[in-house]
Symmetry: C2
Subunit: 243 residues, 2 copies
Protein backbone atom coordinates (compact mmCIF):
# COMPACT_ATOMS: atom_id res chain seq x y z
CA UNK A 1 0.00 0.00 0.00
CA UNK A 2 0.95 3.61 -0.49
CA UNK A 3 1.14 5.59 2.76
CA UNK A 4 1.03 9.40 3.07
CA UNK A 5 2.57 10.88 6.21
CA UNK A 6 2.19 14.41 7.57
CA UNK A 7 5.31 15.40 9.48
CA UNK A 8 6.28 18.29 11.79
CA UNK A 9 9.84 19.19 12.66
CA UNK A 10 12.04 21.84 14.16
CA UNK A 11 14.66 22.44 11.47
CA UNK A 12 17.30 23.96 13.78
CA UNK A 13 19.47 20.86 14.03
CA UNK A 14 19.10 19.60 10.45
CA UNK A 15 20.64 20.39 7.08
CA UNK A 16 17.17 20.64 5.58
CA UNK A 17 14.82 17.92 4.41
CA UNK A 18 16.62 16.14 1.60
CA UNK A 19 19.18 13.37 2.15
CA UNK A 20 22.79 14.45 1.57
CA UNK A 21 26.20 12.96 2.09
CA UNK A 22 28.00 14.02 5.28
CA UNK A 23 25.07 15.97 6.74
CA UNK A 24 22.16 15.04 8.98
CA UNK A 25 18.78 15.70 7.37
CA UNK A 26 15.15 15.19 8.36
CA UNK A 27 14.51 12.80 5.45
CA UNK A 28 17.41 10.63 6.61
CA UNK A 29 15.98 10.44 10.15
CA UNK A 30 12.51 9.51 8.84
CA UNK A 31 13.96 6.94 6.43
CA UNK A 32 16.02 5.38 9.23
CA UNK A 33 12.96 5.23 11.48
CA UNK A 34 10.92 3.54 8.71
CA UNK A 35 13.73 1.08 8.02
CA UNK A 36 13.84 0.07 11.68
CA UNK A 37 10.07 -0.21 11.92
CA UNK A 38 9.45 -2.18 8.71
CA UNK A 39 12.82 -4.03 8.70
CA UNK A 40 13.53 -3.11 5.08
CA UNK A 41 14.65 -0.14 2.98
CA UNK A 42 11.91 2.46 2.50
CA UNK A 43 12.17 5.06 -0.26
CA UNK A 44 10.45 8.31 0.68
CA UNK A 45 9.03 10.88 -1.75
CA UNK A 46 8.84 14.26 -0.04
CA UNK A 47 6.60 17.15 -1.07
CA UNK A 48 8.91 20.03 -0.23
CA UNK A 49 12.69 20.28 -0.01
CA UNK A 50 12.88 22.58 2.98
CA UNK A 51 16.31 24.20 3.46
CA UNK A 52 18.70 24.01 6.38
CA UNK A 53 17.05 25.48 9.48
CA UNK A 54 13.55 25.71 7.98
CA UNK A 55 10.75 24.20 10.09
CA UNK A 56 7.57 22.31 9.17
CA UNK A 57 4.18 21.67 10.69
CA UNK A 58 2.86 19.90 7.58
CA UNK A 59 5.59 18.33 5.44
CA UNK A 60 4.12 15.47 3.39
CA UNK A 61 5.86 12.24 2.33
CA UNK A 62 4.74 9.11 0.60
CA UNK A 63 6.18 5.59 0.57
CA UNK A 64 5.24 2.04 -0.45
CA UNK A 65 5.10 -0.67 2.18
CA UNK A 66 3.46 -4.00 2.94
CA UNK A 67 2.74 -4.18 6.65
CA UNK A 68 0.27 -5.61 9.12
CA UNK A 69 0.41 -2.42 11.24
CA UNK A 70 -2.95 -0.60 10.93
CA UNK A 71 -2.37 2.72 9.18
CA UNK A 72 -3.63 4.79 12.13
CA UNK A 73 -0.99 3.17 14.36
CA UNK A 74 1.87 3.95 11.97
CA UNK A 75 2.51 7.48 13.39
CA UNK A 76 2.96 6.07 16.93
CA UNK A 77 5.25 3.33 15.64
CA UNK A 78 7.45 5.67 13.57
CA UNK A 79 7.52 8.35 16.31
CA UNK A 80 8.93 5.76 18.72
CA UNK A 81 11.99 5.63 16.44
CA UNK A 82 12.33 9.39 15.87
CA UNK A 83 14.11 12.11 17.86
CA UNK A 84 11.87 14.62 19.71
CA UNK A 85 12.29 17.34 17.10
CA UNK A 86 10.58 15.28 14.35
CA UNK A 87 7.00 14.03 14.75
CA UNK A 88 4.68 12.14 12.40
CA UNK A 89 1.24 13.73 12.90
CA UNK A 90 -0.87 11.64 10.57
CA UNK A 91 -0.79 8.61 8.26
CA UNK A 92 -3.36 7.64 5.63
CA UNK A 93 -3.48 5.21 2.72
CA UNK A 94 -3.53 6.95 -0.67
CA UNK A 95 -4.07 5.85 -4.29
CA UNK A 96 -1.12 4.15 -6.03
CA UNK A 97 -0.60 7.15 -8.33
CA UNK A 98 -0.69 9.79 -5.59
CA UNK A 99 2.38 12.03 -5.73
CA UNK A 100 3.04 14.55 -2.92
CA UNK A 101 4.47 17.19 -5.29
CA UNK A 102 2.43 16.75 -8.47
CA UNK A 103 -0.90 16.34 -6.70
CA UNK A 104 -0.45 19.35 -4.41
CA UNK A 105 -3.12 22.02 -4.98
CA UNK A 106 -1.55 24.72 -2.79
CA UNK A 107 0.87 25.20 0.08
CA UNK A 108 0.95 27.58 3.03
CA UNK A 109 4.11 28.99 4.59
CA UNK A 110 4.59 31.33 7.53
CA UNK A 111 7.52 33.65 8.00
CA UNK A 112 7.81 34.97 11.59
CA UNK A 113 9.66 38.14 12.58
CA UNK A 114 10.17 39.02 16.23
CA UNK A 115 10.20 42.82 16.02
CA UNK A 116 11.23 44.28 19.38
CA UNK A 117 14.08 45.98 21.20
CA UNK A 118 15.28 42.70 22.70
CA UNK A 119 15.13 39.08 21.56
CA UNK A 120 13.06 36.63 23.62
CA UNK A 121 14.11 33.06 24.44
CA UNK A 122 10.50 32.09 23.66
CA UNK A 123 10.94 33.26 20.05
CA UNK A 124 14.55 32.23 19.49
CA UNK A 125 13.94 29.11 17.47
CA UNK A 126 11.02 30.03 15.22
CA UNK A 127 11.42 33.75 14.57
CA UNK A 128 13.94 36.00 12.90
CA UNK A 129 14.76 38.72 15.44
CA UNK A 130 14.72 42.20 13.90
CA UNK A 131 15.06 45.15 16.28
CA UNK A 132 14.35 48.11 13.98
CA UNK A 133 10.65 49.02 14.24
CA UNK A 134 8.72 47.82 11.19
CA UNK A 135 5.67 49.58 9.70
CA UNK A 136 3.12 46.77 9.49
CA UNK A 137 0.57 48.84 7.55
CA UNK A 138 3.09 49.42 4.75
CA UNK A 139 4.07 45.76 4.81
CA UNK A 140 0.38 44.78 4.48
CA UNK A 141 -0.08 47.11 1.53
CA UNK A 142 2.98 45.61 -0.15
CA UNK A 143 1.84 42.04 0.59
CA UNK A 144 -1.25 42.61 -1.56
CA UNK A 145 0.89 43.07 -4.68
CA UNK A 146 2.16 39.48 -4.47
CA UNK A 147 -1.35 38.07 -4.82
CA UNK A 148 -2.19 36.81 -8.31
CA UNK A 149 -0.44 34.95 -11.13
CA UNK A 150 2.99 36.44 -11.73
CA UNK A 151 6.42 35.55 -13.02
CA UNK A 152 8.34 35.48 -9.72
CA UNK A 153 11.81 35.17 -11.31
CA UNK A 154 12.99 38.18 -9.25
CA UNK A 155 12.08 36.20 -6.11
CA UNK A 156 14.03 33.04 -7.00
CA UNK A 157 17.57 32.31 -5.85
CA UNK A 158 20.20 31.09 -8.33
CA UNK A 159 20.68 27.33 -8.49
CA UNK A 160 17.10 26.49 -9.36
CA UNK A 161 16.28 24.57 -12.54
CA UNK A 162 12.51 24.93 -12.85
CA UNK A 163 10.73 25.02 -16.24
CA UNK A 164 8.74 28.10 -15.44
CA UNK A 165 9.03 30.79 -12.78
CA UNK A 166 5.32 31.67 -13.01
CA UNK A 167 3.39 30.94 -9.81
CA UNK A 168 0.00 31.96 -8.47
CA UNK A 169 -0.26 33.41 -4.96
CA UNK A 170 -3.75 33.11 -3.47
CA UNK A 171 -3.13 34.85 -0.15
CA UNK A 172 -0.42 36.95 1.47
CA UNK A 173 -1.48 38.28 4.86
CA UNK A 174 0.35 39.92 7.72
CA UNK A 175 -0.69 39.59 11.34
CA UNK A 176 0.86 40.97 14.51
CA UNK A 177 0.64 39.78 18.10
CA UNK A 178 2.97 39.91 21.12
CA UNK A 179 5.81 41.58 19.18
CA UNK A 180 5.69 38.94 16.42
CA UNK A 181 4.89 39.78 12.78
CA UNK A 182 3.66 36.75 10.85
CA UNK A 183 3.68 36.73 7.03
CA UNK A 184 1.28 33.98 5.96
CA UNK A 185 1.38 33.08 2.28
CA UNK A 186 -0.52 30.51 0.26
CA UNK A 187 0.06 29.67 -3.39
CA UNK A 188 0.10 26.90 -5.96
CA UNK A 189 3.87 26.59 -5.67
CA UNK A 190 6.98 28.41 -4.54
CA UNK A 191 10.38 28.92 -6.21
CA UNK A 192 13.72 28.32 -4.51
CA UNK A 193 13.93 30.69 -1.49
CA UNK A 194 10.84 32.56 -2.73
CA UNK A 195 9.14 33.01 0.66
CA UNK A 196 12.39 34.09 2.31
CA UNK A 197 13.08 36.66 -0.44
CA UNK A 198 9.49 37.94 -0.16
CA UNK A 199 10.00 38.22 3.63
CA UNK A 200 13.34 40.01 3.17
CA UNK A 201 11.73 42.45 0.74
CA UNK A 202 8.73 43.07 3.01
CA UNK A 203 11.13 43.83 5.88
CA UNK A 204 12.85 46.46 3.72
CA UNK A 205 9.43 47.98 3.04
CA UNK A 206 8.67 47.90 6.76
CA UNK A 207 11.83 49.90 7.50
CA UNK A 208 10.93 52.53 4.89
CA UNK A 209 13.90 51.65 2.67
CA UNK A 210 11.43 50.76 -0.09
CA UNK A 211 7.81 51.67 -0.91
CA UNK A 212 4.93 49.19 -1.03
CA UNK A 213 4.32 49.63 -4.77
CA UNK A 214 7.97 48.90 -5.50
CA UNK A 215 6.80 45.27 -5.47
CA UNK A 216 5.19 45.82 -8.89
CA UNK A 217 8.47 47.00 -10.41
CA UNK A 218 10.47 44.25 -8.75
CA UNK A 219 8.13 41.54 -10.10
CA UNK A 220 8.21 43.10 -13.58
CA UNK A 221 12.02 43.33 -13.58
CA UNK A 222 12.37 39.52 -13.32
CA UNK A 223 15.75 40.40 -11.83
CA UNK A 224 16.78 38.80 -8.52
CA UNK A 225 19.09 41.72 -7.72
CA UNK A 226 16.12 44.11 -7.61
CA UNK A 227 14.41 42.23 -4.74
CA UNK A 228 15.42 42.32 -1.08
CA UNK A 229 17.76 40.03 0.80
CA UNK A 230 16.89 36.42 1.54
CA UNK A 231 15.59 36.47 5.12
CA UNK A 232 17.13 33.88 7.51
CA UNK A 233 15.84 30.30 7.42
CA UNK A 234 14.87 30.09 11.10
CA UNK A 235 11.81 32.36 10.57
CA UNK A 236 10.26 30.03 7.97
CA UNK A 237 7.76 27.22 8.62
CA UNK A 238 5.96 25.06 6.05
CA UNK A 239 2.45 25.09 7.52
CA UNK A 240 0.49 22.74 5.28
CA UNK A 241 -0.01 21.33 1.81
CA UNK A 242 -3.51 20.88 0.44
CA UNK A 243 -4.42 18.12 -2.03
Amino acid sequence: MRVKLTIAYEGTNYCGWQIQKNAVTVEQKVEEACRKLFSREIKLIGASRTDTGVHALGQVVVFEVETSIPVDRIPYAINAQLPNDIVVRDAIVVEDDFHPRYNAMNKTYEYRIHNADFPLPQNNRYCYFYHKKLDIIKMREAAGYFVGKHDFKAFCSAGSSVKTTVREIYMCEISYEDEVIVIRINGNGFLYNMVRIIAGTLIEIGTGKRYPDDIIDIINSKDRSKAGVTAPAKGLTLININY
Copy 2:
Protein backbone atom coordinates in the same frame (compact mmCIF):
# COMPACT_ATOMS: atom_id res chain seq x y z
CA MET B 1 20.20 54.38 42.30
CA ARG B 2 17.61 51.60 42.45
CA VAL B 3 17.13 49.78 39.14
CA LYS B 4 14.12 47.63 38.20
CA LEU B 5 14.70 45.03 35.49
CA THR B 6 12.08 43.07 33.54
CA ILE B 7 13.47 39.69 32.56
CA ALA B 8 12.37 36.88 30.22
CA TYR B 9 13.73 33.36 30.37
CA GLU B 10 13.21 29.83 29.22
CA GLY B 11 13.24 27.83 32.44
CA THR B 12 14.08 24.47 30.86
CA ASN B 13 17.74 24.47 31.79
CA TYR B 14 17.47 26.09 35.24
CA CYS B 15 16.57 24.95 38.74
CA GLY B 16 14.15 27.85 39.03
CA TRP B 17 14.77 31.48 39.85
CA GLN B 18 16.26 31.53 43.32
CA ILE B 19 19.95 30.98 44.06
CA GLN B 20 20.74 27.57 45.55
CA LYS B 21 23.84 25.61 46.36
CA ASN B 22 24.90 23.03 43.75
CA ALA B 23 22.29 24.02 41.14
CA VAL B 24 22.23 26.50 38.29
CA THR B 25 19.47 29.09 38.66
CA VAL B 26 18.34 32.13 36.70
CA GLU B 27 19.02 34.50 39.61
CA GLN B 28 22.61 33.23 39.77
CA LYS B 29 23.12 33.91 36.05
CA VAL B 30 21.69 37.44 36.34
CA GLU B 31 23.75 38.15 39.45
CA GLU B 32 26.91 36.93 37.73
CA ALA B 33 26.15 39.09 34.70
CA CYS B 34 25.62 42.16 36.94
CA ARG B 35 28.83 41.43 38.86
CA LYS B 36 30.81 41.31 35.61
CA LEU B 37 29.18 44.45 34.28
CA PHE B 38 29.45 46.61 37.41
CA SER B 39 32.67 44.98 38.78
CA ARG B 40 31.18 44.48 42.23
CA GLU B 41 28.72 42.23 44.06
CA ILE B 42 25.09 43.01 43.25
CA LYS B 43 22.28 41.77 45.49
CA LEU B 44 19.08 41.12 43.55
CA ILE B 45 15.56 41.20 44.96
CA GLY B 46 13.26 39.13 42.75
CA ALA B 47 9.47 39.42 42.53
CA SER B 48 8.62 35.79 42.00
CA ARG B 49 10.41 32.56 42.95
CA THR B 50 9.59 30.59 39.82
CA ASP B 51 10.19 26.84 40.18
CA THR B 52 12.47 24.55 38.21
CA GLY B 53 11.41 24.49 34.57
CA VAL B 54 8.98 27.43 34.83
CA HIS B 55 9.39 30.19 32.24
CA ALA B 56 9.01 33.97 32.42
CA LEU B 57 8.26 36.81 30.06
CA GLY B 58 8.05 39.40 32.83
CA GLN B 59 10.02 38.46 35.95
CA VAL B 60 10.93 41.63 37.88
CA VAL B 61 14.07 42.25 39.92
CA VAL B 62 15.47 45.25 41.72
CA PHE B 63 19.03 46.14 42.75
CA GLU B 64 21.08 49.08 43.99
CA VAL B 65 24.00 50.32 41.92
CA GLU B 66 26.05 53.41 41.24
CA THR B 67 26.97 53.47 37.57
CA SER B 68 27.63 55.85 34.71
CA ILE B 69 25.82 53.55 32.27
CA PRO B 70 22.54 55.26 31.20
CA VAL B 71 19.62 53.18 32.47
CA ASP B 72 18.22 52.52 28.99
CA ARG B 73 21.57 50.94 27.99
CA ILE B 74 21.67 48.61 31.00
CA PRO B 75 19.61 45.84 29.31
CA TYR B 76 22.05 45.71 26.36
CA ALA B 77 25.02 45.65 28.73
CA ILE B 78 23.64 42.88 30.97
CA ASN B 79 22.37 40.85 28.00
CA ALA B 80 25.89 40.82 26.58
CA GLN B 81 26.87 38.81 29.70
CA LEU B 82 23.86 36.47 29.74
CA PRO B 83 23.19 33.15 27.98
CA ASN B 84 20.60 33.20 25.14
CA ASP B 85 17.82 31.74 27.28
CA ILE B 86 17.77 34.74 29.65
CA VAL B 87 17.05 38.27 28.36
CA VAL B 88 16.66 41.60 30.15
CA ARG B 89 13.80 43.36 28.34
CA ASP B 90 13.66 46.62 30.21
CA ALA B 91 15.41 48.68 32.90
CA ILE B 92 14.08 51.74 34.70
CA VAL B 93 15.06 53.71 37.79
CA VAL B 94 12.59 53.34 40.67
CA GLU B 95 12.09 55.00 44.08
CA ASP B 96 14.41 53.88 46.88
CA ASP B 97 11.56 52.14 48.70
CA PHE B 98 10.24 50.26 45.69
CA HIS B 99 9.97 46.53 46.42
CA PRO B 100 9.17 44.08 43.61
CA ARG B 101 7.05 41.80 45.83
CA TYR B 102 5.35 44.22 48.25
CA ASN B 103 4.54 46.82 45.60
CA ALA B 104 3.07 44.35 43.11
CA MET B 105 -0.61 45.06 42.35
CA ASN B 106 -1.29 41.90 40.38
CA LYS B 107 0.46 39.18 38.36
CA THR B 108 -0.51 37.26 35.25
CA TYR B 109 0.47 33.67 34.55
CA GLU B 110 -0.26 31.44 31.56
CA TYR B 111 -0.48 27.69 31.65
CA ARG B 112 -0.27 26.09 28.18
CA ILE B 113 -1.56 22.62 27.31
CA HIS B 114 -0.88 21.11 23.89
CA ASN B 115 -3.97 18.94 23.48
CA ALA B 116 -3.58 16.73 20.41
CA ASP B 117 -2.94 13.16 19.29
CA PHE B 118 0.77 13.84 18.80
CA PRO B 119 3.25 16.23 20.41
CA LEU B 120 4.79 18.96 18.24
CA PRO B 121 8.43 20.03 18.39
CA GLN B 122 7.13 23.61 18.15
CA ASN B 123 5.31 23.18 21.49
CA ASN B 124 7.81 20.97 23.31
CA ARG B 125 9.38 23.61 25.50
CA TYR B 126 6.44 25.77 26.56
CA CYS B 127 3.47 23.41 26.69
CA TYR B 128 2.45 20.38 28.68
CA PHE B 129 1.46 17.74 26.13
CA TYR B 130 -1.83 16.03 26.97
CA HIS B 131 -3.29 13.66 24.37
CA LYS B 132 -6.72 12.91 25.80
CA LYS B 133 -9.27 15.31 24.30
CA LEU B 134 -10.23 18.05 26.76
CA ASP B 135 -13.65 19.72 26.91
CA ILE B 136 -12.79 23.41 26.78
CA ILE B 137 -16.34 24.59 27.46
CA LYS B 138 -16.38 22.69 30.76
CA MET B 139 -12.93 24.03 31.62
CA ARG B 140 -14.14 27.59 30.94
CA GLU B 141 -17.15 27.11 33.16
CA ALA B 142 -14.89 25.80 35.95
CA ALA B 143 -12.40 28.64 35.48
CA GLY B 144 -15.10 31.13 36.42
CA TYR B 145 -15.33 29.69 39.94
CA PHE B 146 -11.75 30.71 40.72
CA VAL B 147 -12.51 34.40 40.18
CA GLY B 148 -13.00 36.38 43.39
CA LYS B 149 -11.49 36.51 46.86
CA HIS B 150 -11.11 33.01 48.27
CA ASP B 151 -9.05 30.99 50.68
CA PHE B 152 -6.98 28.94 48.22
CA LYS B 153 -5.45 26.62 50.81
CA ALA B 154 -6.63 23.59 48.77
CA PHE B 155 -4.54 24.93 45.88
CA CYS B 156 -1.28 25.33 47.82
CA SER B 157 1.47 22.72 47.97
CA ALA B 158 3.03 21.76 51.29
CA GLY B 159 6.24 23.55 52.21
CA SER B 160 4.80 27.05 52.05
CA SER B 161 4.92 29.35 55.08
CA VAL B 162 2.63 32.21 54.15
CA LYS B 163 0.61 34.15 56.74
CA THR B 164 -2.64 33.84 54.86
CA THR B 165 -3.83 31.60 52.03
CA VAL B 166 -6.49 34.10 50.96
CA ARG B 167 -5.90 35.53 47.50
CA GLU B 168 -8.04 37.45 45.01
CA ILE B 169 -8.25 36.23 41.42
CA TYR B 170 -9.32 38.94 38.98
CA MET B 171 -9.39 36.87 35.80
CA CYS B 172 -9.19 33.23 34.77
CA GLU B 173 -9.76 32.73 31.05
CA ILE B 174 -9.25 29.86 28.68
CA SER B 175 -8.40 30.28 25.02
CA TYR B 176 -7.73 27.70 22.33
CA GLU B 177 -5.80 27.98 19.09
CA ASP B 178 -3.79 25.55 16.97
CA GLU B 179 -4.27 22.62 19.37
CA VAL B 180 -3.05 24.71 22.36
CA ILE B 181 -5.27 25.46 25.37
CA VAL B 182 -4.07 28.51 27.30
CA ILE B 183 -5.21 29.13 30.88
CA ARG B 184 -4.56 32.82 31.58
CA ILE B 185 -4.92 33.87 35.19
CA ASN B 186 -4.46 37.21 36.90
CA GLY B 187 -4.61 37.86 40.63
CA ASN B 188 -3.18 39.85 43.52
CA GLY B 189 -0.89 36.96 44.45
CA PHE B 190 -0.41 33.23 44.09
CA LEU B 191 0.40 30.51 46.60
CA TYR B 192 3.11 27.90 46.17
CA ASN B 193 2.26 25.83 43.01
CA MET B 194 -1.21 27.45 42.92
CA VAL B 195 -1.39 27.97 39.15
CA ARG B 196 -0.08 24.48 38.44
CA ILE B 197 -2.65 22.91 40.82
CA ILE B 198 -5.41 25.00 39.21
CA ALA B 199 -4.21 23.80 35.78
CA GLY B 200 -4.08 20.18 36.95
CA THR B 201 -7.61 20.46 38.35
CA LEU B 202 -8.94 22.13 35.18
CA ILE B 203 -7.43 19.30 33.11
CA GLU B 204 -9.33 16.76 35.24
CA ILE B 205 -12.51 18.75 34.57
CA GLY B 206 -11.68 18.77 30.85
CA THR B 207 -11.44 14.97 30.82
CA GLY B 208 -14.82 14.61 32.55
CA LYS B 209 -13.30 13.10 35.72
CA ARG B 210 -14.71 16.06 37.68
CA TYR B 211 -17.53 18.56 37.15
CA PRO B 212 -17.05 22.33 36.79
CA ASP B 213 -18.88 23.19 40.03
CA ASP B 214 -16.64 20.79 41.97
CA ILE B 215 -14.33 23.83 42.18
CA ILE B 216 -16.65 25.38 44.77
CA ASP B 217 -16.40 22.32 47.04
CA ILE B 218 -12.64 22.03 46.56
CA ILE B 219 -12.09 25.68 47.52
CA ASN B 220 -14.38 25.31 50.54
CA SER B 221 -12.61 22.13 51.69
CA LYS B 222 -9.29 24.00 52.15
CA ASP B 223 -7.81 20.54 51.68
CA ARG B 224 -4.98 20.08 49.15
CA SER B 225 -5.88 16.42 48.67
CA LYS B 226 -9.29 17.40 47.24
CA ALA B 227 -7.78 19.37 44.33
CA GLY B 228 -6.19 17.89 41.19
CA VAL B 229 -2.56 17.02 40.53
CA THR B 230 0.12 19.68 40.17
CA ALA B 231 0.51 20.09 36.39
CA PRO B 232 4.12 19.95 35.07
CA ALA B 233 6.30 23.06 35.32
CA LYS B 234 7.09 23.33 31.60
CA GLY B 235 3.57 24.57 30.78
CA LEU B 236 3.81 27.57 33.12
CA THR B 237 4.98 31.08 32.20
CA LEU B 238 5.01 34.19 34.40
CA ILE B 239 3.64 36.73 31.91
CA ASN B 240 3.84 40.03 33.77
CA ILE B 241 3.64 41.83 37.11
CA ASN B 242 1.78 45.11 37.37
CA TYR B 243 2.76 47.86 39.85
